[in-house]
Symmetry: C2
């Protein structure tokens, strides 16, 4: 136990903070609330996540751009619902040097109001549509709730995509496409989730509807890990995004927007980590394979040479690999790389050298002696198995964390005892939603699909929804 503590669901928060620190993910001591420093290891994992996502978006006809941080007040305030949803959280820049500026500038809490005036300039005819744009950046929200590392902060690292479409159908199918992309993304992170259409009172400010991916964290609470919104024509009407359709008539564009934040990193840490620290899915591990030479004085050079040769072979295969040549004990190195979550370790000592063998150990605890000529193949297998196992383990857990309830009493009990999701009927009224929340402290997260069921609060006809305590 390199962390000096066992991890269970009751000490999740403490364990989480400790892992982030020990594994060099973030430093929380910066003196502005909710703004972490991403240290080298953590930033590399984060960037690997987002590189994968950016690549996927680029490959599916999104254009990667970069927009400004600051928004003139009048430009920001144009869409009524949107500004209402964000105004309490916006950070305002008011002074330039020692002087007060003529107008204040919002530090972007999200980029609709940055991008859409530009969309209005770029979109002229139906031939300009669909327009799909994305950017990776930080956004700023003066959230008044308690900040939590990587989960709720005031500087949010994210990728946001924004699109304009010619028809409502195109917008609808883009939301589906976005959820597919995010689904594939989280699959590579070995993270199972529920995609839930949020109740109307919980949708994005200015949207027609919102669908979110919810993940169950080890303490039984759910975390929103990605969102996709259908904006309809709300913003295009306000910002004047119009186009000439094929008959030459002016139309307002239909819009969609979707995003994933650094919460993906929180989810990876939380779902896969253990008593020893991080466990990283191979797709995002900065080092996928660490080679540890077991050095005796006599055979140091030949052992090192063999290790370097294996490293070269693995690099040629596109594996991210490193050798730990430091002058410390192998056991200390094991702990070090285990805490950082490296999925596969190769050990090679003088005896292995003689026998033409090496040891392959996975972060999930499997260990195997293999012939040196099979090291590359066996390493590939170990990486693939780790990915598979991580997803299976997490899926099994999610299965256990999903239950059903038919009475409020039962709902309260399952939420309290098991945590996670409870499925129950809800009529759709805000009143019943409030009753449910009051009696169970859990909230309605939304529908996975349309399925009829009687409301757990009032008994009227409604649909099955997922209910959970949330972050």
């Amino acid at each position: 136990m390199v962390l000096g503590m066992k991890f269970d669901k009751n000490n999740f928060s403490e364990w989480f903070g400790k892992v982030l620190e020990e594994a060099d993910v973030i430093d929380l001591r910066y003196p502005v609330k909710g703004m972490p420093i991403y240290k080298a290891w953590g930033f590399s994992i984060l960037r690997n996540c987002f590189k994968m996502l950016e690549g996927e978006l680029n490959a599916s006809s999104h254009q990667e751009m970069l927009f400004p941080l600051l928004i003139p007040e009048d430009q920001f305030a144009r869409e009524g619902e949107h500004i209402k949803g964000f105004e309490a959280e916006v950070l305002w820049a008011t002074h330039s040097g020692l002087e007060k500026m003529d107008r204040k500038l919002a530090v972007r809490p999200t980029s609709e109001t940055v991008m859409y005036p530009m969309f209005a300039l770029w979109v002229r005819t139906h031939a300009d549509l669909p327009l799909r744009v994305h950017q990776t950046c930080c956004v700023y929200r003066q959230d008044t709730k308690m900040t939590r590392p990587l989960i709720r902060g005031r500087e949010i690292y994210w990728n946001e995509a924004h699109c304009a479409h010619a028809t409502a159908e195109d917008a609808e199918s883009q939301v589906k496409k976005a959820l597919e992309i995010y689904g594939d993304f989280y699959k590579k992170l070995c993270v199972p989730f529920k995609a839930l259409k949020r109740p109307d009172f919980d949708k994005f400010p200015g949207a027609e509807y919102s669908i979110a991916l919810d993940v169950v964290m080890p303490d039984g609470r759910v975390l929103q890990a990605a969102t996709a919104h259908n904006l309809g024509q709300n913003f295009s009407k306000v910002y004047g995004i119009t186009f000439d359709d094929e008959k030459g008539a002016k139309q307002h564009a239909f819009q969609t927007t979707y995003g994933v934040s650094m919460r993906c990193l929180a989810v990876v840490v939380a779902l896969h980590g253990d008593d020893k620290g991080l466990v990283l899915p191979p797709a995002i591990a900065p080092v996928q394979v660490i080679i540890i030479p077991i050095l005796s004085k006599d055979e140091k050079q030949p052992v090192l040479e063999k290790c370097r040769q294996i490293k070269k072979q693995l690099i040629a295969e596109g594996v991210r690999v490193d050798i730990d040549e430091r002058e410390t004990r192998p056991g200390d190195k094991y702990y070090y790389w285990e805490a950082r979550g490296v999925p596969v370790r190769i050990e090679l000592g003088p005896r292995d050298l003689q026998n033409g063998q090496a040891v392959i150990a996975t972060r999930l605890g499997e260990k195997k002696q293999v012939k040196q000529e099979q090291v590359v193949e066996e390493t590939r297998k170990a990486l693939a198995q780790t990915e598979k196992k991580l997803f299976e383990n997490a899926s099994e857990k999610l299965g256990q964390q999903t239950s059903k309830a038919t009475t409020l009493e039962q709902l309260k009990q399952t939420i309290e005892e098991k945590g996670g999701f409870a499925k129950a009927g809800w009529c759709g009224s805000q009143e019943c939603a409030e009753t449910i929340e009051k009696q169970t402290t859990a909230e309605i997260r939304g529908k996975e699909k349309e399925e009829k069921a009687k409301c757990i609060a009032c008994g009227k006809q409604g649909s099955t929804v997922y209910i959970a305590k949330a972050y």
Copy 2:
């Protein structure tokens, strides 16, 4: 002339703006001064530049991290020279939602004051040194001079590196190392420069000395394209960055910092561009090779198939390649990709298919018929030659733009007529620097090396310096 204008040194500014627009590099219509939108093509070039630089820094023992945007006022104001140098340009965030905050927060104009309090926590003993950190981010400066796209803005995209060292010698050699890294970087961008030690009055606020890379732009003015600063112990004393040396004595760390901004993109556009638009060095071209199928109705499919086959071969070789399969005339496609600066074009039509040939054309105007089985090899050659030629052309220009002067009259004349650098003697006094600037409108950019010469203003013994009009 796709731009509708010929490019010469007298219309540089107009040409520059037009190229940036036509080639989809940036959009300048965002309603906050000095904040461009990086469009897809421009952002891809920019990221290719910075990916190369980040990779180089990571490979030379720098840790890539990400630090917060905001700095509490007291933390920002601790180093006297530094704050004096920046206070007129700092953007301040003062309000959170509808309320005034207890303390104002500076939007980082540079990250010394963000990072060094953290360095103070991280550095304990000599074993923690050297500490080398870098980040790519945007910084914000309310520059009061006229903004110019990619050259002088208020949102500056850059990579900044910050180090702490155990000795003054280590700091000194890190500055040299930084200049080497930047030199290699600009070499890949085919950009020649002068590395000049700035006069004391022009050094970075809080530094012991500053060395900058200066590039001569087509209009004859020089642009600072990278800087490296030796900070000595100025900041470590203020922020308490101390370590126990090998004898157990407390010491203040020696520090260095260096950076490159989006000006590298301005330089690439300006130095290599021509009447047709951008010309991109292969190292940073989002598309290095564009394949244009010349389609007739009958043989469309076989031509396309051959093109796709060539694309596959080139991808396997690590070349960034695309096919333009749009239904427009080949000539229009040539213009389109020329304006965007793609270094190599492959043309292949029905006759080429029959003859087993293809045409390779470079952006620098060379054109060649080659056998299909040699396309990969010939493409490689064409890319390598383009890189070589771009650097040679730019170096030749820089040679022509560097002259000598021994009198103020001569200096004035050469600066006016030829632009670029003039080498002359300077005694080192601020008074003579002012005399020179007053009489010639050019400024002292600094020394390349120590070389004795009589001051062009007062005749006293001094050293050779480079003098130029600057951005």
